[in-house]
Symmetry: C2
Amino acid sequence: MSIQAIAFDAYGTLFDVYSIGELAEKLFPQRGAALAELWRDKQIEYTRLRTMCATYKPFWEVTQDALVFSCKKLGLDLTLDAQNSLMGQYAKLKAFPENLGVLQDLQGMGLKMAILSNGNPQMLEAVVDANGMHGIFNHILSVDAVKKYKTAPEAYQLAPDVFGLSAKNILFVSSNCWDACGATWFGYTTFWVNRANAPLEELGVTPDATGRDMTALLEYVRQSREAK
Amino acid sequence: MSIQAIAFDAYGTLFDVYSIGELAEKLFPQRGAALAELWRDKQIEYTRLRTMCATYKPFWEVTQDALVFSCKKLGLDLTLDAQNSLMGQYAKLKAFPENLGVLQDLQGMGLKMAILSNGNPQMLEAVVDANGMHGIFNHILSVDAVKKYKTAPEAYQLAPDVFGLSAKNILFVSSNCWDACGATWFGYTTFWVNRANAPLEELGVTPDATGRDMTALLEYVRQSREAK
């Protein structure tokens, strides 16, 4: 295997969504964790339903819909202020502490890098800006270009197209196991950043490599290149 | 609107999946509810991932995969015996108490009826048999025929094809809101059996009608036909 480029998932992989749960807890004491979890699940569920039914809508809006539903389901009174704070959090998520250093090292090794995310372009620009990461990525790819969310093949095809490489020569990195599995099915070489020490999804497919954080990814890339 | 046939979702709509939670609680005291919920969520998640990635596998197997994952995630030791009991429960789920009477009344009104389910044919045959419902349905349709799960259009297309009717003239009935919404997007006239009094999914689409149980469905069909 010869990795010539890396495509990163954004939310949960590069950027830490933990602060959303913290803010939810502040707004809805004792219910923050439940809200953050249901919100995330609904957000992803809606992307899949809209992809299967060809009813695409940008991630920002889907995320907002999921928040509204989750509050109704949990019986929480979502004021406009609370909605704006929670949504606004997405624009300023912090990168995990080791990430910037690892990304710079990977860049130093001559690897081309991209973000490949469900997020719409405006969301991605904002969070990349907020983390001073503009110099790092050659491309910021949003599924908005194809109006289908991951794990649709059309979404995964964005990185091979823009790099002019076969998926096998691109390392796809995600902390979402379903995303790493979908990318493996698609044909990428894959690395699952299993930060939560979760069990592997029972999908009959295994990412090529797994590690606990981005430092483990750096180590994996180094070893892969030495083994060539 | 002129309803000439009805297509029913199976699990949760015709057949009560509550007994699965009861059995799970017996096998894993204090954890039954959590297992039943995660199992159901994973089961549906896997059908969607496999549909988006064209990696279809029959519902029985997907259901088993979801059970295995859920137990790993919750740290429950799933023996083969426990696995067989839980899976076996799907084959003998009881219909909701009002269902047989309502189905017979609908049949008496001259309506053609079908099941349109994610379940594979063997599972559906077993549960229809167990409930003595063979005389009721003109067709038992499984998405296995198209190797794509609901909410894929190819899955919903099965009933219009077999009835030779447009989707608008078929009433699609489901207790899963996402299924009722997907069917509405597809073009069916739809009825959401909202047994749990859940909020409507925030998908920008609303089923044509909603009721608390199958008796409400019967009332809706009667009124629709009188209004013609």
